[in-house]
């Protein structure tokens, strides 16, 4: 073994330097490209109703739009975080059109610019790179893969379940 850390070469991680929004999910900090982030929305009411779509916890009303809310906690940390009351709103591509989508966050978001290196092989598929900020290495999230991932505890189970 050479001793070097094995890395992936996702196309999303090829860009050298760009801006990222840093967000907390649980205790961990993650980065999301600022290109797709629309805004950080204050705590608003989450409306929920029966459905079978994995990770979707409901919808919020924002700027005249009904915005679906994805709970990233189960994918990244294996559980939801009730303390996350702000919403990071990003644009998700569906073919050629975009749909606003929200992720609950704790409100402590920052904007950072830095070098991105490919993700280590041991990171989850929704991590497309590593952002170096000073001494800290932050996982860069691939938003599309994040919202289509299976929760950690259900990655092996697979079955759809009605929620909430």
């Amino acid at each position: 073994m050479s001793g070097a850390v094995e890395t992936r070469t996702d196309s999303a991680a090829q860009a050298s330097t760009e801006s990222f929004v840093l967000l907390h999910v649980g205790e961990e900090r993650y980065a999301l490209t600022a290109r797709i982030v629309a805004e950080l929305a204050p705590p608003v009411r989450l409306h929920s109703f029966p459905h079978t779509s994995s990770l979707v916890s409901g919808v919020i009303v924002r700027r005249g739009h009904i915005v679906p809310v994805y709970d990233a906690g189960p994918v990244l940390a294996g559980k939801s975080f009730s303390a996350h009351r702000f919403y990071l709103i990003a644009r998700r591509a569906f073919g050629k059109s975009l749909e606003l989508s929200a992720i609950p966050v704790n409100g402590e978001c920052e904007l950072a610019t830095g070098e991105v290196s490919p993700a280590r092989m041991d990171r989850p598929p929704c991590v497309c790179g590593t952002l170096q900020i000073g001494d800290e290495s932050v996982d860069v999230l691939d938003f599309e893969k994040l919202v289509t991932s299976q929760p950690i505890e259900r990655r092996d189970a697979g079955a759809a379940k009605v929620q909430p």
């Binding site: 950080l40 929305a41 204050p42 919808v59 700027r63 569906f94 989508s101 759809a160």
Partner: protein, 177 residues
């Protein structure tokens, strides 16, 4: 990136207002277009005309009711939406569909400003269940698709179970006691 003030009203751009019935099941509100409902009856008033149906593969339908020479399959909305067990007291009899729906209660009847498309993030059975979403009194509630309660395949299954059940009753009636 900015943090902006909360807003509560959706614009009414190009959406057609419609009359709707808001009903609840296990504490969850749903809307349905008023024009798709022919009749609302108490479950008790239909109990005498209800016929038990044995279709184990479709537990959301356990009875049929006869109304105006038509047979309606009674769908338990709580089971259909996988909600906790509740006590349905009303039956919504659909117009132009052989479906009646057991619900807990009617919350209100009135106008909704329009039906908003279900976000594409919702990609499961709910795309069949709902026509979209409505914004009513600061609440977002799903607008039910009347044809989403039973699929064509489920109708086939129920028709077959219904015929078997009728045949079994005829045989029972033919055997002298």
């Amino acid at each position: 990136m900015r943090i902006a003030v909360q807003e509560s009203l959706l614009p009414r751009t190009a959406r057609k207002p419609e009359q709707a019935i808001v009903f609840s099941v296990a504490g969850q509100d749903f809307a349905i277009a008023a024009e798709s409902v022919q009749e609302i009856r108490s479950a008790d008033s239909l109990a005498s005309t209800a016929i038990e149906l044995d279709c184990v593969t479709l537990p959301k339908v356990r009875h049929t009711v006869e109304r105006g020479h038509h047979t309606y399959y009674v769908v338990n909305a709580g089971v259909h939406f996988s909600l906790p067990v509740s006590r349905p007291t009303l039956v919504l009899i659909m117009r132009q569909l052989r479906v009646a729906v057991l619900v807990d209660r009617i919350e209100r009847m009135g106008e909704i400003s329009g039906v908003y498309a279900l976000p594409r993030a919702f990609a499961g059975d709910e795309r069949q269940w709902y026509r979209g979403l409505a914004y009513l009194d600061d609440h977002v509630i799903p607008v039910v698709r009347p044809g989403g309660f039973l699929t064509a395949e489920e109708f086939h299954l129920l028709d077959r179970a219904s015929r078997s059940s009728a045949a079994a009753q005829e045989v029972e009636g033919a055997i002298p006691s």
